[in-house]
């Protein structure tokens, strides 16, 4: 008989695995999970939340810099991209990080259209990851509320 907890745990396991397999997350996310324990049960959620705030702020900076038609400071855009690449790397946001690599190349070659495209993609990507991780954290909460333990998922 499949209890609610077992069902939720299975969903959680499957969803987690799919996030890794589809390239949304990489092993640095796994590293963050290692840092979570009973004393800091929300560590991962807190860090990724800060990361998403960072995304918003940096993307805003990039958008403003790219908006200066005819007078775009590509090094300024590049420095924001560099920061975003760093923090995405630190939380395991694989796709965002990958986009930043391309974005940085566009900044270095002062490719305006390329930068605008990358900016749009990065914006979509971080929001997509944010929604997916929210779903994942919701599943965790449901498991705990149903009296179960959050399973350890080995990728």
């Amino acid at each position: 008989m499949d209890t609610l907890v077992a069902q939720l745990q299975r969903q959680f396991r499957d969803y987690t695995i799919s996030l890794y397999h589809q390239g949304f997350l990489d092993d640095q996310f796994t590293e963050l999970k290692k840092l979570q324990d009973e004393c800091s049960p929300d560590f991962v959620a807190e860090v990724v939340s800060l990361f998403f705030e960072d995304c918003e702020k940096l993307i805003g900076n990039m958008a403003r810099a790219l908006d200066q038609t005819g007078n775009v400071d590509f090094s300024l855009v590049g420095s924001s991209v560099h920061q975003l690449k760093g923090s995405s790397s630190s939380v395991g946001a694989k796709r965002v990080k990958g986009l930043c690599v391309t974005f940085k190349e566009c900044c270095d070659s002062q490719n305006f259209e390329g930068c605008v495209r990358c900016l749009q993609q990065v914006d979509i990507e971080y929001k997509s990851l944010k929604a997916k991780l929210q779903d994942l954290f919701n599943l965790e909460q449901q498991i705990v509320q149903a009296g179960g333990r959050i399973p350890q998922v080995d990728i």
Binding site: D27, L35, L50, F51, D54, G86, S89, S90, I155
Partner: protein
């Protein structure tokens, strides 16, 4: 939870135990390691803080080289005397930071008589050999490639414990004891440390070392085979700090 800039981003309850601000921090425990972490990225600061705390280090995290110097009291010679009691066992800093880079911070630390012996570890997201070499030549203890992992910090922690114990003759100094060993012939202190490295020690069993001997013992690797019995290192730790970029663990497929 976190605020921007300034010193650390710990929750209130955690700030109390770490002694944020440094000035009023309680005396550090004998075996506790105090790390100063420097990174302009908030996310990275939070992560490195957690990595260090989970390996039983006390952490002070700042967001710039300037704040690091301020905390250490290096930029203000008047303050540094008072801040002598601030024991920092390791400084870990990001390389790419606006204003003052990690490399520039490293140089300033190595120029400081009070802090030049504190091991400095550089972190960088970019694996640039010339950058790594430059930092190591300037006296950096190690170079970590970001994103930093738990295994990296555990490795640091292991050889750090050995350094602390070795330089203090198997006993970590508490605030109020004689200051870290300097090269000046008359090192002040109410009681000579048990280490044979003190030039003024009259109670040590071996004759005091000359300044030349002190310098060379400082420069040589602090890892000594004879001290293996006091080590708390795990079996897989390397005998000396990794001088190059560490081997990357295989990523997920």
């Amino acid at each position: 939870m976190a605020s921007d800039g300034g010193v650390s981003c710990l929750r209130r309850s955690e700030m109390m135990s770490v002694g944020i601000g440094g000035m009023d921090s309680p005396p550090l425990d004998v075996d506790e390691v105090h790390v100063l972490a420097v990174d302009d990225s908030l996310v990275d600061r939070i992560v490195i803080e957690r990595l260090l705390r989970i390996t039983s280090c006390k952490v002070t995290a700042v967001d710039s080289g300037w704040r690091a110097l301020e905390f250490l009291g290096i930029d203000n010679e008047n303050a540094s005397a008072e801040l002598d009691r601030l024991k920092v066992d390791l400084i870990i800093t990001d390389y790419c930071m606006p204003g003052m880079t990690g490399y520039e911070l490293l140089k300033k630390i190595k120029e400081s008589s009070s802090f030049r012996q504190v091991p400095v570890v550089i972190m960088s997201s970019e694996n640039v050999i010339t950058r790594i070499d430059r930092c190591l030549e300037e006296g950096a203890e190690d170079f970590l490639l970001k994103p930093v992992k738990l295994a990296d910090v555990k490795r640091l922690r292991n050889y750090l414990t050995r350094d602390v114990k070795l330089s203090n003759g198997n006993k970590r100094k508490l605030p109020g004891d004689s200051p870290p060993l300097t090269l000046s012939p008359d090192s002040p202190g109410s009681s000579p440390p048990p280490s044979t490295l003190s030039p003024d020690s009259s109670d040590s069993s071996s004759p005091p070392l000359s300044p030349v001997e002190i310098i060379s013992s400082q420069l040589s690797s602090p890892i000594d085979d004879e001290d293996d019995d006091v080590l708390t290192s795990s079996p897989e730790s390397s005998p000396s700090p990794v001088r190059r970029q560490k081997m990357r663990s295989p990523g997920l497929d």
